[in-house]
Amino acid sequence: MNPFAAVTYKAVPPSVPLIDWTALWHIVVISLAFGSGLALGFGLLLLGLSRGEDGKRGIEKAGGFLLAGLCGAACIAAIGVGVYVMCNPPKSKPDKVVAVTSSYVAGIRANL
């Protein structure tokens, strides 16, 4: 008996591209902005702290601490956005999940 006899292969829909270039482009840009931005922001925070601690003049110290404060706030905001996205994924994604899950469960119910 051929074990693959019952296997059917779903045809690839011609209208659906294999790669969604628009989404890919967006992913690259967003990842670049957040990934490199966070590393750079944290680096500037350290630079600001360093200037603030080692500065000879008052204005230099204040400028350093101001830079550190702004970069620290930006880093916290970026992390906050990341956590928010984790907790609240876009609405379209769960809907897709619900759709496929529904078809699965419908199959189960039909066969119970």
């Binding site: 984790m86 189960i108 119910r109």
Partner: protein
Amino acid sequence: MDMASELILIIVIVTAVGFDFTNGFHDTANAVATSIATGALKPRQAVVMSATFNLIGAFISISVAAKIASGLISATSLHGNSGLVLVFAALCGAILWNLLTWYFTLPSSSSHALIGGIVGAALVGGVTVKWHSLFSSVLIPAVLSPFICMGIAALSTFMVYRLARSIGEGRTKRGYKQGQIISAALVSLAHGTNDAQKTMGVITLALIAYGETHLLHNKVGAHGVVVGSALSVPIWVKILCGGAIAAGTATGGWRIINTMGNRITDVESPQGFSAETASAAVILASSYYGYPLSTTHVVSGGVMGAGIGKRAAVHWGVAGQMATGWIFTIPAAGVVGAIAWSVADLFGKGSAVGALVIAAIVAAAAAAVFQLAQRKPITAAELDRTAKPPTAPLTPAPAGA
């Protein structure tokens, strides 16, 4: 429901929890390997922190539950005991591949192992495989994501080291060590939200197949219109899966942590921070656009990128071994899944005896792999870089690599 169904359900739940546990200790390295390698955290502290954030991640979202299983095969063909056995065979393929790659110290994707197991069991079980979905949602992102993360991590590392000239080496390393604690927590949280969900979905679907149909309820959209159905994951399933992945993480997959943190390139704290933030950004951006990625592939790409960005030596031989493992993950787990389903089927369609026999074989194989690993163990103490200056990699890359 008869006793056979009950027995198969219990076997599926136990196997799913076992898979979640291997998923935890296999993927601990993704979040904490660089933090341990740079001495930002002690190994035990790192895995406990990672386990905690994995556990939190398992509870904050259930949107990805069942996504993998139902998106890749024609799920309507799954029903009753034979459907449960198919899911069980898929889990067996994933567990065995996870254990083998752990033994050979190779970071590989637990998600891809599960996908491979599902596809393999589905092929021999006569269930339609959605090839287009497999290519567009799994294979192409799997190929592209390490390169994207590598590029971003390389750029970040380059910029960070340019800035470090104005800050001073000591301050930079100390600062980024503290930053690494946050970035490692972020990657752990992302891992928990993604990986614990898969097992929750598998168990919930098994419960529905068993007859717990109240777990399915109508989803009401705008104006009170029923727009579909949604799954309710029982709280005990969430606790079980979250606990299993956290327990696996806390066990510490020291073998893979060593590869990821020490064998790809010699990592310093600015590189570790860059690799982790780049990885977290790529994983989250991809999840937002509906592409669930392998955290292993992304983080590995990030670590390589961090090496390139500092113009440090990247051990491409080790990277090549890892890439080979990635290529074989889906086919190998698929073959095991297919064999498991075929052997179970010899005892009759949806037979509890077949499932029991396979469970015994998998348990024996897992015990053998653990036993073999004890001959050349890698311990947390060997990886601790907090108490002493960095030494040569524990397992150096082959000469010329």
